[in-house]
């Protein structure tokens, strides 16, 4: 046991030390920073509840939170629908199934920065590909990223496009778990395609749907590079995300205490939202 203990501490010890320095300490220090004012140049000063008070009354923070909810209200449902539809299509006997799967998955492996730069060009008002298509079919061009009404939805559609391949894989895995006997049973009952989907497939995929909701929600709260590259948070701050605000407070304004406070608040909001979603889905399931 002594020898095993020694070997184990050599093998797992570095990780334990790493966790202390790069996980436990930052979590604890985040809670300390909430009560500090610190520009990283001069010594930190105790700020009491200033940061918290500021945050509560900070219109910019809350509008960033509101923007995120706008994003989520489009992104999450759209993500579920598109991922589910593609997964159901891919779950059939298909020629070149792995090609289709690979095609949908391609954007997942591409850096978000690249996707943002690419879509800035696709969305561009005058020379953008999308407007080019619209004009071709006789519609008028839309200023996607410069109109306050369309900017956030445009970003939400883009993020959905980027991530859908990942969620298709999750749904495909879930579809494999539906027992053949159940599918045959419901077919013998004479259910229509819609009924089979409504009463067998959809309920069976509930765990995957919960996962998709949770992951896409967390992902939505992490929105950063897209507005950073595409809109800078505009127009009219409508695409300003919480992480972008946090980043600017730390990097542009050197307000570490306040940036950390935003981080803690964001973590709390994520926790509450994810918890509420699970409760809601649980209730819906019980009905």
């Amino acid at each position: 046991m002594r020898a095993e203990q020694k070997t184990a501490s050599l093998m797992a010890g570095p990780y334990a030390a790493f966790l202390l320095v790069f996980a436990v300490y930052p979590i604890a220090f985040a809670l300390v920073l909430v009560f500090l004012q610190w520009d990283l140049v001069t010594a930190p000063t105790f700020a009491g509840a200033d940061n918290i008070r500021l945050l509560v009354h900070d219109g910019r923070f809350w509008s960033a939170v509101a923007n995120t909810f706008v994003f989520l209200s489009i992104h999450v449902p759209l993500q579920i629908i598109t991922a589910l539809a593609l997964a159901l299509a891919l779950n059939r006997q298909l020629v070149g199934r792995s090609f289709w799967r690979a095609a949908f998955f391609l954007p997942v492996v591409i850096s978000g920065a690249v996707v943002a730069i690419l879509w800035s060009n696709l969305y561009a008002t005058d020379v953008g590909l999308i407007n080019h298509l619209l004009v071709k079919i006789g519609l008028s061009p839309v200023p996607w990223l410069t109109d306050p009404r369309t900017a956030m939805p445009a970003i939400a559609v883009m993020v959905t496009w980027k991530n859908v391949g990942f969620y298709v894989i999750i749904y495909l895995a879930g579809l494999q778990y539906i027992p053949r006997s159940c599918q045959e049973a419901i077919e013998i009952e004479g259910a229509s395609a819609w009924q089979r989907f409504r009463y067998l497939t959809l309920p069976s995929l509930l765990p995957q749907t919960i996962l998709v909701v949770t992951l896409s929600t967390i992902n939505g709260f992490q929105l950063f590079i897209e507005p950073y590259v595409m809109t800078g948070g505009g127009p009219l701050r409508r695409t300003y995300s919480v992480v972008l605000y946090l980043y600017n407070n730390a990097f542009a304004y050197q307000k570490m205490g306040y940036a950390a406070t935003i981080g803690v608040a964001l973590a709390l909001i994520i926790g509450i939202v994810v918890f509420a979603q699970r409760r809601l889905i649980g209730k819906a399931e019980a009905l």
């Binding site: 501490s9 790493f18 059939r92 992902n219 973590a267």
Partner: protein
């Protein structure tokens, strides 16, 4: 009726596939087009040019960024594989005091959103004097809790008698890990390698915080700074710089497509 449905299915899939692939093809072709052609939907450039690449290469240190990204992502990946499997081996197969605590801490760490620790980690890097160093880009990623949990899960399924045999044969524990467990763990190791490399290769927020010196920037960071700072000047140049980042990943993806998809699905949390 049945035939019609199949035709509709394939038509739908084709349209979907085009929306996923076409933008990248358009991007690739635009980098070879002169500025006047960029707005066109055509994929074959009328006047083929390499000017965008020349301009991009001349204006910002993309070669250097490619080296930086490769070095950082490779180092992180190797570390996560070697250190991660050593940790996972101990956590899965050795008895030691603190093992339950380490397990619990690993799971707890995964539940804390990254935004909470972002600023404290940044201040830590500043205080360590690591701003504008490779250490800032690498050290916080040397261990990966997701990877450790995945490896641990896999190691738990390897029969105890293999460890016992190896010990009777006179192997040390690290030797058991690297000569017995590793050959048996190729699937999970490649999954971990791919998602770690991808994550490191594509990461942009962290480098934006801890690196300001152009010569130390990773590709996605330099690309972002370059595009935002107006250094590109034209769409073609900015897309050409994006290609430096995309081409290695797509090449690897083309070869290891199945592993890529499984690794992303397997990593779960990372997305």
């Amino acid at each position: 009726m049945k035939l019609l449905r199949r035709i509709a299915l394939y038509a739908g899939l084709t349209v979907a596939a085009i929306t996923f692939i076409y933008p990248f093809l358009w991007m690739a072709s635009s980098t070879f087009k002169p500025p006047v052609e960029v707005g066109s939907l055509a994929l074959i450039p009328h006047d083929f040019t390499l000017d965008n690449y020349r301009t991009m290469w001349a204006r910002a240190p993309f070669g250097r960024a490619l080296v930086n990204s490769t070095f950082v992502a490779t180092t992180i990946t190797l570390a996560v594989l070697v250190f991660g499997s050593m940790t996972a081996y101990a956590m899965a197969r050795l008895n030691f005091r603190g093992r339950p605590a380490l397990n619990a801490a690993t799971i707890a760490v995964l539940m804390v959103p990254g935004q909470l620790t972002l600023i404290p980690l940044y201040t830590l890097i500043v205080q360590l004097g690591w701003v504008d160093t490779y250490a800032a880009l690498i050290v916080p990623y040397l261990f990966n809790a997701t990877a450790i949990l995945m490896l641990r899960q896999f190691f738990l399924q390897i029969p105890q008698s293999l460890i016992d045999s190896a010990r009777m044969d006179g192997m040390s524990e690290p030797r058991i890990l690297f000569t017995i467990f590793w050959p048996l763990s190729k699937p999970v190791l490649s999954i971990v390698a791919i998602f770690t490399f991808m994550g490191a290769w594509n990461e942009v927020l962290w480098p934006l915080l801890v690196v300001r010196e152009q010569n130390l920037m990773t590709l996605p960071q330099l690309l972002t700074v370059f595009a935002l700072g107006g250094g590109a000047g034209s769409v073609g140049v900015s897309l050409a710089s994006a290609m430096v980042l995309v081409v290695p990943v797509v090449a690897a993806y083309a070869f290891l497509q199945r592993n890529f998809i499984e690794s992303m699905a397997g990593s779960g949390i990372k997305g």
